[in-house]
Amino acid sequence: MTVVTINGERRELGEPVTIEAAVRAAGAPDGRGVAVALEGEVVPRGEWATTEVSDGQRVEVLHAVQGGS
């Protein structure tokens, strides 16, 4: 098991954990309109399938919401 923090929540996921799996776990199955930061660094969409999340790392999965002035 790998323990990672996705959007502030501790999650136990079967290894290896890729960004793609983390995005699914965050509740964005198709990943459309979504961007990901791993330990505060942007992971481009093209690298989601091959980038692994190590034990204890933080993943942020973001999308657009209403906002502004």
Partner: protein, 269 residues
């Protein structure tokens, strides 16, 4: 209909840019967005909420608006730069409304962090539209950095106080070689008209519409106010005078009384 303008070479017909914060639901937002005539709408980047229903971006696109991501909620240049990059990934746009806030109570921009973030994002190829204090020197520094527009506040975000410093706003407008977009503080239609009369190229607002009792009606009012203010600016207003200036001829006035008193002049016996 007012003539359009350009930001970074991109033509825009509408001089009203809509912020999407504060609407009670997506349906009201979409109706107000259509009625506002705006072509750009700001959005914020937040954690995915699996329970959220309806795609904000799709609703905006169906209403004919393109999204302009902001960096709302960022207090450091570093966070703002990362958020802009995330927005570019998620939304496929390299335009960003740059916000770096210095204080929770006033939500006023942090000028030092703002300038650092603007430099980094411009260097990274972003089209940067910074939300800035109404400070002519800071506006100039941002423009020199390569920002595509400057967006001075009228008053703090959501305060509805209108334009607190029209003098500074006029100085910013006079010196700017990029579009000046009044951002934040507009409370009602006359505030938006005043911004345009002061020479702003456009107005960005959200709360004034989204938190109005009838958002679509206020959206229509804002659309007209921005157009009216722009046309008034183009038309050239009359100078302010201390005393009246008669608009009817002074010659040829009939003498209808046998003894007519000489009209008194104010300030003299």
């Amino acid at each position: 209909m007012s003539a359009g303008f350009e930001i970074a070479g991109r033509p825009l017909e509408s001089r009203l840019i809509l912020g999407t914060g504060g609407f009670r639901n997506l349906q009201v937002m979409a109706e107000a967005a259509r009625d506002s005539g705006a072509e750009l709408a700001t959005v914020a980047m937040r954690r995915v909420d699996p329970s959220a229903r309806g795609s904000l971006v799709e609703v905006l696109e169906q209403a004919g608006l393109e999204v302009l991501p902001n960096t709302a909620g960022c207090f450091t240049a570093r966070d703002a730069v990362t958020t802009a990059k995330l927005a570019r990934e998620a939304l496929g746009t390299d335009w960003v409304k740059l916000e770096v806030i210095g204080d929770d109570r006033t939500l006023l921009p942090d000028p030092a962090e703002l300038l650092v973030a603007a430099e980094e994002l411009v260097a990274d190829g972003f089209t940067v539209l910074p939300y800035t204090n109404d400070d002519p020197i800071l506006a100039r520094r941002l423009e020199d950095t390569g920002c595509a527009a400057v967006m001075p506040l009228g008053s703090p975000i959501g305060s509805g106080m209108g334009i607190n410093n029209t003098y500074n706003l006029r100085l910013i407008v006079e010196q700017a070689r990029v579009p000046v977009i009044l951002d934040a503080g507009v409370g009602t239609a006359s505030d938006a008209a005043l911004a345009m009369e002061a020479g702003c190229d456009a107005v960005l607002l959200a709360s004034a519409i989204s938190r109005a009792a009838d958002p679509p009606a206020m959206a229509r009012a804002m659309r007209k106010a921005v157009e009216a203010g722009y046309e008034a600016r183009q038309a050239g207003r009359i100078p302010r005078r201390l005393y009246a200036q008669a608009s009817s001829p002074e010659e040829g006035v009939a003498e209808l009384e046998p003894e007519v008193d000489t009209p008194r002049v104010f300030g003299r016996p």
